[in-house]
Symmetry: C2
C-alpha cells in the first residue's frame, strides 16, 4: 500500500530532478517555489491570487501562529486549510528558526528553548514535543522537525546544535501522532562540509518522507552554500524530496535545482514587493525611481503575470509614490509569479532532458 | 441621433427610478453605488476584484491626481482608463471639494481658488477652466463642474458660494472641448431649501447630460438631507441622471433612491474596511473585537461576496489583530459588495414595481 506521501521521481537530468510529491491536499510538482504566509496569509494576496499564479504549496510559520491567534484556536476553526481558505498543500516550519531569530532567547538546553514573545514579551517554552503538538493543531500537510540553527561560522556551536537537532528529530518522530502529516527532518552543520555530511547521514537514516537543508542563506557566501548543497545532495536519498529552507532568489533556485533541490521557500518576493522592488531577469528594479514615472512598459516585457499583463511601470511607480496598498499586491503577484514560473520552466526542461542548456542560457542572461 | 450620454429611464416606482446611462465605456445601470479610487486605485483592490463585485462606475479624484502623478502624465499614459486598467466608466470630481477640505486655502475669489498642496506645501491655482483642462487630461466618462462647497449652516456664505458655483458651471461649459465626456452640473445651497430650489432651477436650465447634488453629508442632519433631496428632486429633469455626491451608508442609499437619486459614491466602505468595520444589515460590526476570535460564521450569513463565501469572522479578526493588509482587502470587498448589491436589489424592486415594499422591509430590519 502506498503511503499518502509518496514522492514520484519523474525525471532526472544531471543532479536536477522533476518529481511529484503526493499529499492529502493534492500533488506538489517539483521543483517548486512555495510562497510564505507567515501569519496564515501571504501578505497582501488573496487565495484567489495565489491560485492565479499557480501556487501549489504554501508555508505558514508555527512561531507566529502559536503566538497569534494560537494553534488551539486554529484547530478549533478546522485547521489552517479551512482557517485561511487554502485547499492545496501547506507546510509549517517548526518554530525553531523564529525562536532563535525573533524571540528573545532566555534559555536553550537539551530539553528545549525558553523564549520571550516578540509581540508582548511573555515567556514561552518550545520543545520538540510542543512543536509537534502545535503543528498537529495547525494541521499542515508537511511539518518540520524542531531544530537549532547556529551561527554558520561557529564550529563549536554548530557541533552542539547539530547533535541537538538530531536528538530533537528523534523526539519529534516519537511525539508525532497524526498520520496525515509528513514530518521532514532537517540537516544542519553550518558551513562545515564534514558536519553537513554527518548530519545528512543521520537525517537520511531516519527514513522520513522528506528531508530539508536548514541554516543556509543566513550569512554564508554563495560558494559555501553550493558546496554544502553538493555534500548533502550526495548523501540524501533520491526517492525523497529535498527542501532548501528559506532560500529564494531566482539565481538560488537555478543553483539549487542544479544541486538536487526540489522545494524552496522564501519571504524575499513578498518582502521586496513591500519595498518597491521587482524581479527583472536575474536582477531587480526599484519601481519607485523617477526614471519609471513615464515608462509605459510592463515590469518585465514578456512576463505573463496579472501585473505585467495589465499595468505599466508608470502606474506602479505612481502607486509606490503615493504609498497605495495595491503596489504591494501587484508587485507581490509579479515577484511570486516569477519564481513559481521559473520553477515550472525548470521542471519542463528537466523532463525534456534539457536542463543543462536551460541553466546555461539562464546564467548567460 | 442619440448622444453618447443618453439616459434611458426604464422604470419608475414612486420617486424611485431605474435607468441606464450610456457612456463611451459602457452602460451604467442605475441606481448605482460607485466605489472611490482617489489616487487611481480603489484602496487595496485590483480591477479584477472590482469586476468580481460588479462595479460599473468608479470615481477618481482630480485634486489628488493633479498633484500626483499629474494629469499630463496620466494623459500621456493614455488617460485614466488605460493608466489604472479600468475599462468601464469612470467619473472624476472637479477638485473643488478637496481643495476646500484638504488643501490649505490661500485665496478664493470669483476667478478661482489658490491653495497649498497637502503633499508638499507648494502653491496651486484651480479655476473652472483649469479643472476642465485637468479633467480632460484625466479622460473620465463623466466630469464634474468646478463648484464651491460651503459650510452647510452658513446662509450668507451659501448664497455667495451658490452664485459662484452657478457662474463657474457656465464657465466649465464654455471651457469644455471634448465631446466624449459628460459634464454634470452641481446643485449647492447648504441646508436652505429656497437656495437649493434656486440652485436646482439654475443647474437644470443648463441642460447638461446629468445633474449632481453637492454639499450634503457634511454635517447636516438626516432630516435636513432628506428635505433638500425632496426639494431638488422636484426640480431636476427626470430624463437626466441625478448624482448625490459623497453619500453612501446603506440607509443613505435607500433614502436617496426613495427621493429620486440615481448615482451615489462614498469613501466610507473602503475607509471603514481599513478601520476594521464591516457593514452588517443596517449596522456595522467591528471585527477586531475579542468576541469574534472564535466565531466560525461569515461576516454576514447570507452575503454572496468573496469574503463571506470563503472566510470566517475568526480569520478576519486574526488578520485585523496582527495588522495584515489582507484584512483591508477582504473587508473592502465585503463593504463595497454590500452597497453595490443593495443598489442592484433596489433596481430590481423598482423594475418589478415593488420598491415601496422593499424600502419598508429594509427599514423594518
Amino acid at each position: 500500500m502506498s503511503t499518502p506521501f509518496e514522492f514520484e521521481l519523474i525525471a532526472q537530468d544531471g543532479r536536477a530532478r522533476a518529481g511529484l510529491f503526493h499529499t492529502p491536499h493534492g500533488d506538489i510538482p517539483t521543483p517548486i517555489f512555495a510562497p510564505v504566509g507567515t501569519q496564515a496569509t501571504v501578505k497582501s494576496l488573496t487565495p484567489a491570487h495565489l491560485n492565479q499564479i499557480q501556487s501549489s504549496l504554501i508555508l505558514a510559520n508555527t512561531y507566529h501562529l502559536y503566538l497569534r491567534p494560537g494553534d488551539e484556536l486554529v484547530a478549533e476553526m478546522g485547521g489552517l486549510h479551512a482557517f485561511m481558505n487554502w485547499s492545496r498543500p501547506i507546510l509549517t516550519d517548526s518554530g525553531g528558526f523564529q525562536v532563535f531569530s525573533l524571540g528573545g532567547i532566555n534559555q536553550i538546553d537539551d530539553e528545549g528553548v525558553t523564549f520571550k514573545s516578540h509581540v508582548d514579551g511573555s515567556m514561552h517554552r518550545l520543545t520538540p514535543e510542543r512543536s509537534m503538538a502545535i503543528q498537529e493543531n495547525l494541521g499542515a500537510d508537511i511539518i518540520m522537525a524542531f531544530d537549532e540553527c547556529a551561527e554558520p561560522y561557529d564550529r563549536d556551536y554548530n557541533e552542539i546544535a547539530m547533535q541537538r537537532t538530531h536528538a530533537w528529530a528523534r523526539r519529534c518522530i516519537n511525539a508525532k501522532t497524526r498520520t496525515d502529516q509528513a514530518l521532514f527532518g532537517i540537516v544542519q552543520g553550518g558551513i562545515f562540509p564534514d558536519l553537513r555530511q554527518q548530519s545528512a547521514e543521520f537525517i537520511a537514516s531516519l527514513n522520513l518522507p522528506g528531508n530539508a537543508i536548514g541554516g543556509l542563506s543566513v550569512g554564508e557566501t554563495k560558494v559555501e552554500m553550493h558546496t554544502i548543497l553538493e555534500v548533502v545532495d550526495a548523501v540524501l536519498p533520491e526517492d525523497k524530496p529535498r527542501y532548501l529552507m528559506g532560500v529564494g532568489t531566482p539565481d538560488d533556485l537555478v543553483n539549487g535545482v542544479l544541486r538536487g533541490v526540489d522545494i524552496f521557500d522564501c519571504v524575499l518576493p513578498t518582502r521586496l514587493a513591500r519595498h518597491k522592488a521587482a524581479f527583472s531577469g536575474r536582477g531587480r528594479i526599484n519601481i519607485g525611481k523617477a526614471e519609471y514615472a513615464r515608462d509605459p512598459r510592463p515590469l518585465v516585457e514578456d512576463c505573463a503575470c496579472y501585473t505585467c499583463q495589465n499595468f505599466s511601470r508608470a502606474y506602479l511607480r505612481h502607486l509606490v509614490s503615493v504609498k497605495e496598498m495595491l503596489a504591494s499586491t501587484l508587485l507581490s503577484i509579479h515577484n511570486l509569479h516569477t519564481l513559481i514560473h521559473l520553477a515550472q520552466e525548470m521542471r519542463q526542461a528537466i523532463i525534456a532532458g534539457q536542463f543543462e542548456q536551460f541553466a546555461q542560457s539562464y546564467f548567460a542572461q
